[in-house]
């Protein structure tokens, strides 16, 4: 199972009228991997994910998800994937427990609904009507419904948009549990850099419908440190070894270097640079 990729995309294209949403996108996600699709609004994240889910048709390109083309996938394939879409307003009059146990019925070997509700931290809300849940609780219910069928692959489309920082961190813990102990392959889209860094084994930066960078979070950070800028009273130098430069400068000045600053472009700067928004 581990040798075949969970997702393999080549040359994916999708246009809406004159607007090109996805412009020749390539992406691989290995089994068991957590990959973040990171990009600004309108970059093509949701369109890409919806094509991979089989919810949207494509204009061109080859797509393979768990061994099938999602455009022609059957219900057995559906039973192996889990979907958490961007927003939902359904199920309002049902309780959390009714919703989760109803969706468990669709799958051949679902998780125990109670355990799923506990995993997403909604046990105290199990008998509450869905419409009374807060935004964060609703999102966790969406995840519960996405995983109750024991998926091998889970799609999460901007799962934490609108969360407060505390709720976001709790949500991240949940996703880490699914990926770790659950062994679930996860493709998540986000426009939060921190989220990609916190959760993903690999980050694919998507801009204008194309992947412009595809690396581990650490490698992206590595890219950033390579461009450290050292400034002092009568000089400025870019270096990938700032410590050595400062040592040289210290020797030259015979002590403290006047007006010394060392600035490392943050991961955010790299990201902004990648999406063409850097200064």
């Amino acid at each position: 199972m581990t040798e075949t990729p969970a997702i393999r995309v080549r040359g994916l294209r999708r246009t809406y009228g004159d607007t090109v949403a996805v412009a020749g996108l390539d992406l691989d996600v290995g089994a068991g991997e957590v990959v973040a699709l990171l990009g600004p609004n309108g970059a093509g994240k949701t369109t890409t994910i919806e094509i991979l889910e089989g919810h949207r048709h494509r204009d061109a390109g080859a797509v393979n998800v768990l061994g099938h083309d999602p455009a022609h996938a059957d219900l057995d394939w559906r039973a192996r994937i889990g979907i958490v879409t961007q927003d939902s307003g359904d199920l309002g009059e049902l309780t959390v427990h009714e919703s989760v146990s109803h969706f468990a019925h669709y799958y051949p070997r679902p998780h125990d609904p109670e355990q799923v509700i506990e995993l997403v931290g909604l046990t105290a809300k199990a008998t509450a009507r869905v419409r009374t849940l807060s935004g964060g609780q609703r999102r966790r219910l969406d995840v519960a419904l996405g995983i109750v069928g024991r998926p091998r692959l889970l799609f999460l489309d901007e799962p934490t948009t609108g969360f407060d920082p505390q709720a976001r961190r709790r949500f991240w813990d949940l996703i880490r549990q699914l990926a770790g102990a659950g062994g679930c392959t996860i493709l998540l889209s986000t426009h939060y850099l921190q989220e990609a860094e916190a959760l993903a084994d690999r980050v694919a930066v998507i801009v204008g419908g194309r992947i412009v960078a595809d690396a581990t979070p650490a490698a992206l950070v590595g890219r950033a440190t390579a461009r450290t800028v050292v400034r002092w009273s009568d000089g400025r130098q870019e270096t990938d070894d700032p410590a050595a430069l400062i040592a040289t400068l210290t020797t030259r000045y015979g002590g403290a270097v006047p007006e010394l600053t060392v600035s490392r472009p943050s991961l955010e700067d790299v990201y902004l640079d990648l999406i063409g928004d850097g200064s």
Binding site: L75, R78, T85, S88, H105, Y106, P108
Partner: protein, 277 residues
């Protein structure tokens, strides 16, 4: 997590079983939305009570009052309301709020969704019919037939009429751009048909010829006529368009709408909203 896994590929549950599950979920959802329940049931009931009290008099050559003539026709309109409007607006809402998208993401056979919707509509329709019959009997002295043949007629008219209207409603749900417009989109044809089928305007024989011709193309006119044949004596026949209950033609038109409605559903049903393909 501890669900036991048997060796081999476990089977997904059948469409019928899932359809029954959906029906219970649909009914819970419907009956918990109290204002919607109240208005769904009240609309035909209030119209029957109002129109039945406004018009009075007895049709010449019979002992049938205006209200008694109205009652079986209103039952037909009630059936149309709890099937056509209920399903049309309900499915438009499901398309809008993400219900359909979520279900399409689950391994659910599409037929399970429709089985659930139709069973839900059927339960609500039976409830509405009982309510309208109750009002007609208690307030307007409509007498229930004792002849089992008449109840048999009631059964097949009800089943064919409800099915035809339910399928048409499912198909018409795609006409509404959003859940908010669905109420207006579904109510206009419903109200127009209720007038030109001789429900709100009685007796049907008095309708202007062109309206009658248009009304006769749609199932409501025939369902109303079928219910009148169950509850009214033959002495009222002179008030009909032709002096016969025409059971064969009723069955034919309603069956044709069942088939046509099914074809429309299969060809026009959209799982996604218009703005998102």
């Amino acid at each position: 997590m501890t669900t036991t896994v048997r060796p081999g590929t476990p089977q997904r549950p059948s469409a019928v079983r899932l359809g029954l599950h959906r029906a219970t979920i649909e009914l819970k959802g419907f009956f918990r939305e109290r204002d919607a329940v109240a208005f769904t049931f009240a609309m035909p009931a209030v119209i029957l009570a109002l129109l039945g009290s406004i018009f009075d008099g007895v049709y010449p050559g019979s002992d049938v009052t205006s209200a008694q003539y109205l009652a079986p026709s209103m039952i037909a309109a009630g059936v149309a309301s709890t099937t056509f409007i209920n399903l049309g607006t309900g499915i438009a809402a499901d398309r809008d709020d993400g219900t359909l998208r979520r279900l399409r993401g689950a391994p659910m056979p599409p037929s399970a969704y429709f089985i659930g919707k139709i069973l839900m509509a059927l339960v609500v329709t039976v409830g509405e019919t009982v309510l309208l019959l109750g009002i007609a009997v208690l307030a307007f002295d409509l007498s229930l037939p004792t002849d089992p043949v008449r109840w048999l007629t009631f059964g097949w008219v009800f089943l064919l009429g409800a099915t035809a209207c339910a399928l048409t409603g499912i198909a018409a749900s795609s006409l509404a751009g959003s859940a908010r417009s669905a109420g207006a989109v579904m109510n206009l044809p419903y109200l127009v048909l209720a007038f030109i089928s001789g429900v709100f305007y009685t007796p049907v024989g008095q309708l202007p010829e062109p309206l009658l011709t248009v009304g006769s193309l749609f199932p409501l006119k025939w369902m109303a006529q079928g219910f009148r044949s169950v509850f009214l004596p033959d002495s009222i026949l002179p008030q009909e368009v032709v002096p016969s209950w025409e059971p064969g033609r009723i069955a034919l038109v309603l069956a044709a709408w069942c088939i046509g409605g099914m074809v429309l559903c299969l060809t026009t049903f959209r799982w996604r909203g218009r703005r998102s393909r």
